[in-house]
């Protein structure tokens, strides 16, 4: 069952991610990204991170990506004409990326092949309670300081996007 879910949603995630990258229309990319996020949320659930999975959907898919879609619509961004970056970028970039990917995969496989197995329910530390406890004890400081981050984001949006008053 675990394997089935993993394969299913990993496939969905990868296909959606490819779709994000190759779709010409930003809206299509955005929705594909939502697809990635949703399938990742399911994988999070499987890994015992139910709270984070839900937050992933609420914050990422439900708020951040909506914002993206919103902006795309607002700007009425059209499809990209298919004239990619320079050839050299492709010639250089693709092999480097594949090498990068291969390297990471190789090391990950070497290092973590026997690190553990995911079985649904083998880790139940991801409840809202345990997250909350961690957030308000060990991670109180970063938790508080993220409020500054939010404040900056609000301020930034005001500074950059407000209408002229006069």
């Amino acid at each position: 069952m675990d394997l089935f879910f993993f394969v299913l949603f990993a496939t969905v995630a990868v296909l959606s991610a490819i779709s994000v990258v190759v779709q010409r229309h930003p809206i299509a990319s955005a929705l594909s990204l939502v697809g990635v996020m949703a399938s990742l949320a399911v994988l999070y659930l499987a890994l015992g991170a139910e709270f984070v999975a839900m937050v992933q959907i609420i914050v990422y898919a439900g708020a951040v990506m909506v914002l993206f879609v919103f902006v795309i619509m607002l700007l009425n961004a059209g499809a990209e004409e298919r004239r990619g970056r320079s050839l050299t970028a492709h010639l250089l970039g693709v092999p480097v990326l594949i090498a990068f990917l291969g390297l990471i995969c190789y090391f990950v496989q070497r290092e973590f092949a026997n690190a553990g197995f995911m079985k649904f329910g083998n880790f139940t530390g991801g409840s809202a309670q345990s997250i909350g406890l961690a957030l308000f004890t060990d991670y109180l400081l970063p938790f508080e300081i993220t409020s500054v981050l939010i404040l900056i984001a609000i301020l930034g949006a005001i500074v950059l996007a407000r209408k002229e008053m006069d």
């Binding site: 390297l103 990471i104 090391f107 990950v108 070497r110 290092e111 973590f112 690190a115 406890l133 308000f136 004890t137 060990d138 991670y139 109180l140 400081l141 970063p142 300081i145 993220t146 500054v148 981050l149 404040l151 900056i152 984001a153 301020l155 930034g156 005001i158 500074v159 950059l160």
Partner: protein
Amino acid sequence: MPINFSPSPDDLLRFSPEIILTVAGTLLMVLDPLFAKRFPKLFGHLAILALALATWGAVAANAVPGASFSDLLVVDGFATFFRVLVLAIGILSVLASYRYLGREEAETGEYHALLLFSVVGQCFMVAANDLIMIFIGLEISSIASYILAGYLRDDKRNNEAALKYFLLGSFATAFFLYGVALLYGVTATTKLDEIRTALNSPAAVSSFAMVAVAAALIFVGLGFKVSGAPFQVWAPDVYQGAPAPVSAFLATAPKAAAFAIFFRIFLTAFQQIAGGWEPLVWISALLSMTIGNFAALTQTNVKRLLAYSSVAHAGYILVALAAHSEIGTAAAMFYLAAYALMNIGAFAVVIHIAGKGERYLKIDDLAGLGKRQPGTAAMLTVFLLSLIGIPLTGGFFGKYYIFQAALQSNLVWLAVLGLLNSAVAAYYYLRLLVVMYFNEPGEGAETLEPLTPGLRAALILPAIGTFFLGVVPGFVLGFAQRSAALIR
């Protein structure tokens, strides 16, 4: 299950600079709609006050060094040094901003609030002992900087600067984060000292390859932030496009903080695999110096020139990192202080000559400054000489210490190439001097306005600082060395 977690007074004191700045930033935001029209300068004054208070807090916190908030925050000499440095940069940036904001008729309240928040992030970064904390601090600093870079939103250059800074900054962040994730996977912790302990254990040797990958990713992320080559592509565009006082700030404070964590992470967490990352830093340092200096040779825009020069200076500091020794760390700290002073000073002159809408940014617009305003010209001369590395200026001792560290770590060729680079650099700095003193005044100089008090202070204070570092470097260096001993 009531949770009782209340910080002790010591904890709060160690955290006081951030608290003060956050409160002040919020206050500025609140006061903005009330006073923005009537007292546009009020916000600058308040910001300086807050920064000064925070500096005091940072110094006071140094009296009770130690870890707080479940070891996430560590106040040590290193942290204090960089805190004071970024706070001082903040003060100087505010001083340099008065005239600019007035000239461009920009909103002052939000500007200063963002500046304060950015400094909060940097203070937070440099005192962090945890990769996640560093990440959050980095982002606070960066996000505020993105906005500042595009602060004059009707200016196309500002837009472009903000966009590029934002895109590449976020890109870098993702790399940094991936590195953190992998590191977390190997060591099951993100606290720097625990990572070090974990990697020190004999069992960890088998994971070194993985750690090296993580280190490389973190290196990429931080390389972007410090604008070290080959990740420097954004720097020229951003520094050129952003409002001049913001460029001054961006070229110094975030860079100083990013270098602080660079050193902290690489010397604390990755000390074990130093042999692995040293060549990486070596190459990056050399590339930064070379690319920065040679690209700067052909620039005609002063801001862009300073941008490339800042890339080159990042290269010098990376040399100190490549040395990965106590003395190297101390040298980098000293250099960053000197660099911040001279760079802000140089940018202050740019702010002064740029004129409304930053029209006069060509090197030729400096022409005749030596005749029109000998005082300003003399200040710029001091900064440029310091950037070149002429003795009796901070820049000289900075370079000296760095290359001493490099030689001590047997990086002879890096030192030689670095110093030759600094000779190349002399050329383009001298070009500014040439134009300023030897050429006849142009259009920019005709319309030049007298120095305002804010700018005057933003010139004189760094100049004094530059000389101070150049004549009695022992004071700062001594502190740096004592602090550097702590992060190893």
